[in-house]
């Protein structure tokens, strides 16, 4: 069980800011995205714009293999606009 955090447009599309999601411990970042989209299909429209932050490190959606522990934070990061 990881904690998925939603920000900005992804929070509007998912309709919430955080939730616990059950995923395999070893999973690619793209597979993780696909698991989350199964729960919130409306997120599919932003697939090409977002990246992840896993335990506060940026991860692109792709083949990168993640090893997730219970309670790890996975954040959906839409294009940023600070400053």
């Amino acid at each position: 069980m990881v904690t998925v955090l939603y920000f900005a447009r992804s929070a509007e599309l998912a309709g919430l800011r955080s939730e616990s999601v059950s995923v395999p411990q070893r999973i690619t970042s793209l597979q993780l995205w696909e698991e989350i989209v199964k729960i919130h299909p409306r997120l599919a429209v932003i697939r090409d714009q977002v990246i992840f932050a896993v335990q506060q490190e940026y991860v692109f959606l792709g083949d990168q293999l993640l090893v997730l522990q219970t309670g790890d934070e996975v954040a959906i990061i839409p294009p940023i606009s600070g400053g």
Binding site: F7, A8, F60, P79, I80, G82, G83
Partner: protein
């Protein structure tokens, strides 16, 4: 000021209250520094012909603070003479003309602090997980910095 306590410091704050230029610049003042350089990001009242009513900011706060700490660390590697760095960013509603970000850097001579401030705001816009929503009269828009480090990258 006790000279022995004047070690280089980073002052990082994300807050919903109005930012203060006086407060941020005073944080970085140092007896052996002859320069304080400052950047203030303020909210504009228009975008592509549309009237902007106000801005709203949100952040992945814990990660944003960490990314800002990394920027401070990078500044000290690139400009070792930099003394103090302050980066304050406002969250929540920011009315037109008010500051959304204030960055101040002190150094013995002006070149380093001027260059470091530029680096800070450019890198913040590329890497720090903060989002801005522009509120117009009839609609709103989530903004995207062109500096965003993964913008337009191949997936």
């Amino acid at each position: 000021m006790d000279e022995s306590e004047d070690v280089p410091k980073d002052f990082i704050k994300l807050k919903s209250e109005k930012l203060s230029v006086d407060e941020v610049s005073e944080l970085v003042i140092s007896p052996n520094c002859g320069a304080v350089s400052l950047f203030i990001g303020t909210t504009r009242n228009n975008f592509e012909g549309k009237k902007v009513i106000h801005l709203e900011y949100e952040a992945y706060t814990s990660m944003a603070e960490m990314e800002i700490k990394k920027i401070c660390r990078d500044v000290r590697q690139k400009w070792p003479s930099v003394k103090h760095i302050a980066m304050h960013h406002r969250l929540g509603v920011v009315p037109i003309t008010e500051a959304s970000v204030i960055i101040a850097v002190s150094s013995p001579h002006r070149t380093e602090s001027l260059e470091a401030v530029t680096y800070c705001i450019n890198t913040l816009k590329a890497f720090v997980p903060i989002w801005k929503k522009e509120i117009y009269e009839d609609e709103y828009s989530w903004k995207e910095n062109k500096e965003c480090f993964w913008a337009n990258s191949e997936k």
